[in-house]
């Protein structure tokens, strides 16, 4: 099977050099051709996108962009659509995630981009989304208009399908000429989405490009960084620091580093009736995208004092992970991932020899690993790939100090607690650095309009132009109807 990644409006495919990336999983193989553009081609493509965005995308009312995006998402949600069938056939081979996980995960994230949800995105950041279309009266007086970047560059990372769509769609909503650099680990979905948009509205298709370069290739990267006025980048802090060092000082840089998620379960959620379903939801959050998402849980803090003890709850989560593994087997691990997992597991085993409170559940060969610790431990990464550490705490109040040292990496926390407790704990977690609090089972599916990393997805992209009252008043003096 051969797939071609990218979307290069205005560049004849024959003039582009292509590199082939190889992917194998589930007994199948796919070759993905990715474009390797010269600096001159990158410049030409940037000019093409910028010019088309200026002459077309910026003239569209935002409601029309929403309609077009909705139509494109509808095709990816339609299981009979050829694009959707292609995604379901190819993405499991490219990413290694099992077919059912890809199917469920795709639908789960695409659902956030239907028209009503896109309107929610807009409403979250703009009291009056019409500011994206023209000058609107401002509360303080005068008029305001919001304009997206002329050229917005996205640098995506990782193999979680659909992650790229979050920022891609945000850029289009603010009418940015858009160039996205796909990750080598999942180079396809963003390009497909661009091509669907081009099928629906060919002129819109000229306003965005999807490209590739080898991550860390400073020369290729600099060619694009010099063209963009805003850059959204995903990746580890080392990669982000390297990019930031090359971003022109006049450009806006919006980094999204790696994150660590965790869960917190209050004693009131641990009666014998509720613990079972809760354990199932925890297992789902752990298994979704093999914990590779920024929102994925890597540690779970469980309060003592419920009818079900933390240790018993750990057993239940283990059982649920075992059951899930039968239906959705774990992705095949690379040697490095397997070694990392074995090292994590044996470190925990060793710890168990030193102190009574740590138990490693299950067999080494199981497709999951759960560690239960009776000793309070600060938040730290698990080995991902369905590995979870469950830490018993005396009360939820013990948790904020245990997570605050990872403040720079916090984002999502799932909380199971009574309403009064939820708000009390949320305040403490927010102070510790958490930006998103959700229910179990929803960790991997942020709701439409969420503020990724606590920031404004749309507002951070735009620049306001304000007409002050003085100009308005002065203009009156120059009107032809002036007395």
């Amino acid at each position: 099977m051969i797939e071609t990644a990218g979307h290069l409006p205005g560049l004849p495919a024959g003039e582009v050099a292509w590199r082939t990336l190889e992917f194998s999983a589930w007994g199948e193989h796919v070759q993905v051709r990715v474009p390797e553009l010269t600096t001159a081609q990158a410049g030409a493509l940037a000019g093409h996108v910028r010019e088309n965005a200026r002459s077309y995308l910026r003239t569209l009312p935002v409601c029309q962009i929403v309609t077009t995006l909705d139509a494109a998402i509808a095709r990816l949600l339609d299981r009979d659509d050829p694009w959707r069938r292609r995604a379901e056939a190819v993405l499991p081979i490219v990413t290694g995630y099992d077919r059912e996980s890809v199917r469920l995960g795709l639908s789960g994230s695409l659902r956030s981009f239907r028209a009503p949800q896109l309107q929610r995105f807009l409403a979250e950041d703009f009291a009056n989304p019409a500011v994206l279309d023209g000058f609107q009266p401002a509360m303080k007086g005068g008029f305001t208009r919001a304009q997206g970047p002329q050229l917005l560059l996205h640098i995506w990372a990782g193999n979680v399908p659909g992650l790229s769509l979050w920022s891609l769609i945000c850029g289009l909503l603010v009418k940015a000429g858009t160039v996205g650099k796909v990750a080598s680990a999942e180079p396809l979905l963003a390009g497909w989405f661009a091509q669907i948009l081009a099928e629906i509205d060919p002129r819109l298709g000229e306003c965005l490009a999807v490209v590739w370069w080898q991550g860390g290739d400073a020369e290729a990267e600099r060619a694009w960084l010099d063209e963009a006025d805003t850059i959204v980048a995903y990746g580890g802090n080392d990669a982000l620091a390297a990019i930031r060092a090359r971003v022109p000082v006049t450009a806006r840089f919006l980094p999204h580093g790696h994150r660590i998620g965790f869960g917190l379960i209050g004693a009131e959620a641990l009666d014998t009736r509720r613990a079972g379903p809760l354990a199932r939801l925890v297992a789902q959050d752990v298994a979704r995208w093999e914990q590779q998402g920024c929102y994925s849980p890597q540690m779970l803090f469980v309060a003592r004092g419920g009818a079900v003890s933390p240790r018993e709850f750990a057993e239940r989560v283990s059982q649920e992970l075992g059951a899930l593994g039968l239906r959705h087997p774990r992705r095949a691990l690379s040697v490095a991932e397997a070694a990392g997992l074995a090292a994590w597991r044996s470190r925990e085993e060793m710890r168990g020899f030193d102190e009574d409170g740590t138990v490693v559940l299950g067999e080494a060969g199981d497709g999951w690993s759960v560690v239960c610790s009776e000793v309070a431990r600060p938040l730290a990464p698990s080995a991902l790939n369905r590995t979870l550490k469950i830490v018993a705490v005396d009360s939820p109040d013990a948790v904020p100090p245990l997570v605050s040292s990872a403040r720079a990496y916090l984002q999502t926390a799932a909380v199971a607690a009574s309403p009064r407790e939820l708000f009390r704990i949320a305040a403490l977690l927010g102070e510790a650095g958490v930006t998103r609090i959700c229910g179990f089972g929803a960790m991997a599916a942020p709701e439409a309009g969420w503020h990724n990393d606590g920031r404004f997805n749309l507002l951070d992209l735009v620049r306001l132009t304000e007409i002050e009252q003085s100009a308005e008043r002065a203009a009156d003096g120059f009107a032809d109807y002036v007395d």
């Binding site: 890597q298 490095a336 060793m350």
Partner: protein
């Protein structure tokens, strides 16, 4: 068997020319029984893995301890204070935490080192003039490599062999003089040391525009990789540069693969082609396993190396390394360290977290 009986048996075993799998297994089971009986943390580890002296029938069933365990546990059959020598890792990989190996006697370690070194490096010579590119034992009393090189120099080096790394680092003028003398003498010369020290030497020679053509039969032994102590070089670039700067052909550049957590070393037969096949003597055997399940992988599949070193009798003979490898005819190929992967997505992985914690 008592400890002294084990030591006696091991010394006799090392002196043999070779050993059958059955002979290796007999001694491996005896050593395992000794470790199971006297090394409490290892016993707990084995029991956790469901392996006891009653269930283990083959040397392959003897549970392999991850080398990270040497950092957190004291794996010794004898009281640690009674050790004649404690070797420690450099602590570069885990934020300063150092793995330890206790040796109640150095007799087995030294015999293992020397018999194997003569066979694999000395190429039939009794002694050679040696230059050592590593600090000596006084400077690094807990370094197994410093001891290794001291033994090599003492037992296999000529009287004018010397070390060239002092408190101030590489003593280039003295080394250049020694290399010049060797060049003029026509007698083979051996340069041994840490891989990163060779990079420092290469850079220093390049800066001066100097080259040497060491006499035929000269040899180089490097070990340990670059460990962030020098710039990184690919193996091909490294051996090409060594060969060009010192006039020693790549097939006479031997890489030694050893670990603080072992008492025996592996060698290749030159680095004309990288990665070369590595192998050890008859008292150490290696496997390539799936690190998650611990099960053997078929020949040709890439996995993580497990070494079973009978000479490491006081600690744990079977260790799970952090090195990727593949079994091939005559030994294994070493494919580099497996550090645990960074996340494939956008979640924070252990490695990045540790890097950040180290600052």
């Amino acid at each position: 068997m008592t400890q002294s009986e084990i030591i006696e048996a091991l010394l006799a075993f090392i002196e043999q020319d070779d050993a059958s799998e059955a002979a290796f297994e007999r001694l491996a089971l005896a050593v395992f029984a000794h470790q199971f009986a006297h090394n409490a943390p290892y016993r707990r580890f084995a029991i956790q893995r469901g392996r006891t002296t009653l269930t283990v029938r083959s040397w392959r069933d003897i549970p392999a301890v991850p080398i990270s365990a040497f950092k957190t546990l004291t794996l010794s059959c004898t009281p640690p204070d009674a050790a004649e020598r404690i070797f420690m890792t450099s602590g570069t990989t885990q934020g300063g935490v150092r793995g330890k190996s206790h040796h109640p006697t150095m007799a087995v370690w030294s015999r293992s080192m020397l018999v194997n070194f003569r066979r694999r490096f000395m190429a039939g010579r009794e002694r050679m003039a040696m230059g050592i590119l590593f600090p000596d034992e006084v400077a690094m009393p807990n370094s197994s490599l410093a001891h290794y090189l001291a033994l090599a120099k003492r037992d296999c080096g000529t009287a004018d062999s010397e070390g060239f790394i002092g408190a101030a680092g590489l003593d280039l003028p003295r080394l250049s003089a020694a290399l010049e003398r060797a060049q003029d003498s026509g007698e083979p010369y051996a340069l041994l040391g840490a891989s990163f020290s060779f990079v420092h030497l290469l850079d220093a020679l390049a800066a001066q525009g100097r080259r040497f053509a060491l006499p035929q039969g000269s040899r180089i032994l490097d070990t340990g990789g670059f460990k962030g102590q020098s710039r990184e070089m690919t193996p091909d670039a490294f051996y090409d540069a060594l060969s060009a700067a010192l006039g020693v052909p790549r097939e006479a550049c031997i890489n030694m693969y050893g670990m603080t957590e072992l008492s025996t070393q592996f060698y290749d037969d030159g680095n004309a082609v990288c990665p070369p096949v590595k192998s050890g003597p008859h008292w150490i055997r290696s496997r390539v396993v799936d690190p998650v399940s611990g099960r053997d992988l078929p020949e040709g599949a890439t996995g993580v190396l497990v070494h079973h070193d009978l000479a490491h009798f006081n600690c744990a003979s079977a260790i799970l390394t952090e090195d990727a490898g593949v079994m091939v005819e005559g030994g294994f190929r070493l494919l580099g360290r497996v550090d645990g992967a960074d996340s494939k997505g956008c979640s924070l992985a252990v490695e990045e977290f540790l890097r950040a914690a180290r600052g």
